[in-house]
C-alpha cells in the first residue's frame, strides 16, 4: 500500500529545490524595502484616530478586529479539540521527573508566579502603547500558570472548570464589546469609548479592554492546552 521507492527518495529534494528557486525569483521581483503601503499609508494618515500609540495594535484590534476574533476562535477551537481528543485517554499526571528538579526550582516557581503574572498583565494593558499586547502577555500568563505544574506541584492552579469559564467569558467579552457598538447604532466591533490622549494608559477607547479580553483568553487557553498535553500523556499500548 505504501508505495515507497528508496531510489526515488531524492525527488522531493529536487522539487524542494525547485520550489525554493521559484519562490526566490518571485519574491526578488518585488522591490525590497519599499513597500507600497497602500493600506498602511492610509492608516498612517489617519494619524491615530483610534488613539492607540502602537499602530499595530490599532490594526489588530481596530481595522482588522475580525481577524483577531477569528484567531481567538482558532485558539479556542484548538484547545476544545485537544480536550475532546484527549478525554478518555487514561488520565495520568506526569510530574516531569520532579524528584530531580529539586527544592530550588519548586521555590523559584512559586516566587516567579506572581511576578510573571504581573509582567503579563503589564504587557497586556500596555499593548496599545508599546510593542506587546494581549497575545504576548497572555502567553506569559499561561507560562506563569503552567510553571507549578512543570515543577511537579500538581495542577492545583489549573482548574479546568475555572479555565473554561475564564476563556469563555473573555471571548464573550470581546464579542459583546463589538455587539455593544452595534447596539449603539454603529458597526460591529467599532471602538466606542472616548479615544483620550494618545500615549496615555487610559486611552484608545475600547482597545485596551479588547486586549484585556484577548490576553486573558489567550492565557487561559494556552494554559489549558499545556495542562491537557502534560496531564494526559498516555502509556502507549502494545501494538497489535
Amino acid at each position: 500500500m505504501s508505495r515507497e521507492h528508496r531510489s526515488m527518495a531524492w525527488t522531493p529534494l529536487l522539487f524542494s529545490g525547485g520550489l525554493a528557486f521559484m519562490l526566490f525569483s518571485l519574491f526578488m521581483a518585488v522591490p525590497f524595502g519599499e513597500p507600497l503601503m497602500r493600506v498602511g499609508g492610509m492608516i498612517q494618515q489617519t494619524d491615530g484616530e483610534l488613539g492607540a500609540a502602537n499602530l499595530v495594535t490599532a490594526v489588530v484590534l481596530g481595522y482588522r478586529a475580525l481577524d483577531t476574533l477569528g484567531e481567538l476562535a482558532i485558539l479556542f477551537a484548538a484547545s476544545t479539540s485537544v480536550g475532546l481528543i484527549l478525554t478518555g485517554v487514561k488520565q495520568r499526571t506526569v510530574s516531569v521527573e520532579c524528584e530531580e528538579l529539586g527544592e530550588l526550582f519548586e521555590q523559584a516557581s512559586t516566587l516567579l508566579l506572581p511576578l510573571l503574572i504581573m509582567v503579563g498583565f503589564y504587557i497586556i494593558t500596555h499593548g496599545h502603547l508599546t510593542p506587546g499586547g494581549g497575545f504576548q502577555g497572555g502567553v506569559i500568563i499561561a507560562v506563569a500558570l503552567f510553571l507549578p505544574t512543570l515543577a511537579g506541584r500538581g495542577a492545583a492552579l489549573l482548574n479546568h472548570r475555572l479555565i473554561q469559564q475564564v476563556e469563555g467569558g473573555a471571548g464573550a467579552l470581546f464579542i459583546l464589546l463589538g455587539v455593544a457598538a452595534l447596539l449603539q447604532g454603529e458597526s460591529f466591533l467599532q471602538p466606542w469609548l472616548p479615544v483620550g490622549e494618545i500615549g496615555a494608559l487610559f486611552s484608545a477607547g475600547t482597545l485596551p479592554l479588547l486586549y484585556l479580553a484577548v490576553g486573558i483568553k489567550v492565557g487561559a487557553e494556552l494554559a489549558a492546552l499545556l495542562t491537557h498535553l502534560s496531564t494526559n500523556v498516555p502509556s502507549p499500548e502494545v501494538p497489535r
Partner: protein, 485 residues
C-alpha cells in the same frame, strides 16, 4: 433590520460557542454527556443566523450589500460582502447544519460545530483576502477536531494526515498572500480587483497558483485531496455529508471568487482546468475501483469537484452558471447518498438511492442533466484542445460513474454478499424506520424532484446569480458606495 447586523451571523455562533462550556458547567452537564438543552441552544443559534440572513438577504440579487467591520472604510478595514452567491451559500450552510447537527453529541462537539458554522459563514461572506485565510484556518481546525473525535482507531492519524496536508497548503497560501500584498499593498478583494483591472498592481499568476494549492486542500483539488477518502470513511455520515456537501463548495467558491476578481487573465484558468481534469479522471477511476461504498462516494466526490473546477475554468458567462449548477446539485445529491448508506438499505431507500444516482449521472429530466448539459455545451463552445480533452474526459467519466453507482444497487440485490460500508449485511426484510438520516435524505430527494419540476425559474435565478457574481464593476461600485455612506 439594519444591514450592520450582518456580522452577527459570524459572531453569534462564536459567542454561543465561547459560552457553551461554562453554561454546561452551570447546568451541571458532564462534558461527555449529550444534553438536549445545549443541542437546542445550538440549533437555535443557527436558526437565528438563518433568520438574520433571510431578513437581510431578500433582495441581494437586485443589489448586493457590503458591510464594513468596525466602521472603517475599505480597503483599510475588513468588509463582509453579501451577494446572491453568498446568500445562497449562507442559506445552504445554515440549512445543512440544522439538518445534520448530531443530536447526541458531547458538549465540545457542539462547540466545535458552532465554530465550524461561524467559520463557514465567514468564508461565504468575507471580502478580505487575509480574513478569508483566517476563516479558512478556523474551519480547518474545527474540522480536524471533529474528525479526530470520530470513533475508531484510525481517526487521529487520519486527522493528522489531513492537518499536515492542510498545513502545507496554508503555508503556500500564506506565501501567496504575502506575494499579493507585496505587489499591491492591499488585501481587500474589491480594492485588489480595482487595482488589477486598472493594471496598477498587476498581480503575478504565481500568487494565484499558490493560493489555489493552499485553499484547494479543502476544495478537494487534485493532488492535495488525498485526505478525502480517509476522512470520509472515518467520520460519521452526517459529518461526511456536511464536509462533502457544503464545506468543499465553500472552498471552491472562495477560490473562484479570488480568481474572478483578482486574476482576470485567461492564463489563470488553465491550471484550474488541468487540475480539474486530473481530479475528475483520478476520482472517478478510483471510485470505480474501490470496494466499499463510503470510499467510493468519497472518490466520486473528488471526481465531481474536478468537474466543478472544469466548469469554473470556462469563460465567465458559460462557466459560472455551469459551475454553480453543478456545485448546488452536488450539494444536494452527495449528502443524500452519504446519509442513505448510513442505514440498512431497504426497497424504498434503494429507490431513493437510484434517484440520487440517476441525477448524479445526469439522466434527464433530473437537475443533474441540465447542469451537465450546460457544462458540455460550454466546453464545446469555448473550444481549444484542452477543453476538448476535458469534454471527452467528462463523457467517459460519466460512463464510469454510472457503472459504479449502480453497482451499489446490484449489491443490494445480492443478498449473500454484505454491503461493505453500509451497516446492513442482508436486505432488510422489514422496513426499518427511516430515522433522521433517512428523513433528511428523503427531503433532499424531494428537493431534487421539486427542482426538476421548477427547473426554469431555478436556473433563471442561478443564471442571474452567476451573472452578478461575475460582475466585477458591481462589486467595486457596491463597496465604493458603502464608502460614501
Amino acid at each position: 433590520m439594519s444591514t450592520e447586523w450582518l456580522p452577527l451571523v459570524v459572531a453569534l455562533p462564536l459567542l454561543v460557542a465561547f459560552l457553551l462550556q461554562p453554561l454546561a458547567h452551570w447546568l451541571g452537564v458532564r462534558a461527555e454527556r449529550p444534553s438536549p438543552v445545549l443541542y437546542g441552544l445550538s440549533l437555535m443559534t443557527i436558526a437565528a443566523t438563518l433568520w438574520i440572513t433571510l431578513q437581510l438577504g431578500s433582495d441581494v440579487i437586485a443589489q448586493p450589500l457590503s458591510v464594513t467591520m468596525g466602521g472603517f472604510n475599505t480597503p483599510v478595514g475588513i468588509n463582509l460582502y453579501l451577494d446572491g452567491l453568498a446568500y445562497l451559500l449562507l442559506l445552504a450552510t445554515q440549512l445543512a447544519l440544522l439538518l445534520l447537527w448530531p443530536a447526541g453529541a458531547a458538549v465540545r462537539t457542539h462547540v466545535l460545530l458552532l465554530v465550524l458554522a461561524a467559520s463557514s459563514m465567514g468564508l461565504a461572506l468575507s471580502g478580505d483576502l487575509f480574513n478569508l485565510y483566517v476563516f479558512y484556518e478556523l474551519l480547518a481546525v474545527a474540522t480536524f477536531g471533529l474528525i479526530a473525535a470520530s470513533p475508531g482507531r484510525a481517526a487521529p492519524l487520519v486527522s493528522f494526515r489531513y492537518l499536515l496536508l492542510s498545513g502545507m497548503g496554508s503555508v503556500l497560501a500564506l506565501s501567496g498572500i504575502a506575494l499579493i500584498y507585496s505587489h499591491s499593498g492591499s488585501l481587500n478583494l474589491a480594492d485588489l480587483s480595482m487595482l488589477a483591472a486598472s493594471g496598477e498592481g498587476s498581480l503575478p499568476i504565481a500568487a494565484f497558483l499558490l493560493i489555489l494549492v493552499g485553499f484547494g486542500v479543502k476544495a478537494e483539488l487534485f493532488a492535495v485531496n488525498s485526505w478525502v477518502p480517509e476522512v470520509y470513511s472515518v467520520t460519521s455520515s452526517r459529518f461526511a455529508a456536511l464536509l462533502a456537501g457544503v464545506v468543499s463548495k465553500l472552498a471552491v467558491v472562495m477560490i473562484v471568487r479570488i480568481l474572478l476578481l483578482l486574476f482576470p487573465q485567461p492564463e489563470a484558468t488553465d491550471p484550474l482546468l488541468l487540475l480539474g481534469i486530473l481530479g475528475l479522471v483520478s476520482g472517478e477511476l478510483a471510485a470505480w475501483r474501490s470496494n466499499d461504498f463510503r470510499r467510493m462516494l468519497a472518490y466520486s466526490s473528488i471526481g465531481q469537484l474536478g468537474m466543478i473546477f472544469i466548469a469554473f475554468s470556462l469563460s465567465l458567462e458559460l462557466g459560472l452558471f455551469a459551475g454553480l449548477a453543478l456545485s448546488f446539485h452536488h450539494m444536494v445529491v452527495k449528502p443524500g447518498l452519504f446519509l442513505l448508506l448510513q442505514q440498512p438499505l431497504s426497497r424504498w431507500r434503494v429507490v431513493l438511492l437510484i434517484l440520487f444516482a440517476l441525477s448524479l449521472v445526469g439522466v434527464p429530466p433530473l437537475p443533474g442533466f441540465w447542469a451537465k448539459l450546460a457544462l458540455l455545451t460550454g466546453l464545446v463552445e469555448v473550444g481549444g484542445w484542452l477543453n476538448g480533452v476535458a469534454a471527452v474526459t467528462f463523457l467517459v467519466a460519466t460512463v464510469v460513474e454510472a457503472g459504479y453507482l449502480f453497482r451499489i444497487v446490484q449489491r443490494y440485490y445480492q443478498e449473500e454478499r454484505p454491503i461493505a460500508g453500509s451497516t446492513s449485511s442482508t436486505v432488510a426484510a422489514v422496513e426499518s424506520p427511516w430515522g433522521w438520516e433517512g428523513g433528511v435524505a428523503l427531503m433532499l430527494g424531494g428537493v431534487l424532484l421539486a427542482v426538476t419540476l421548477t427547473i426554469n425559474p431555478v436556473t433563471e435565478q442561478l443564471q442571474q446569480i452567476a451573472l452578478q457574481s461575475g460582475d466585477r464593476e458591481r462589486l467595486i461600485s457596491t463597496i465604493t458606495v458603502s464608502e460614501v455612506e
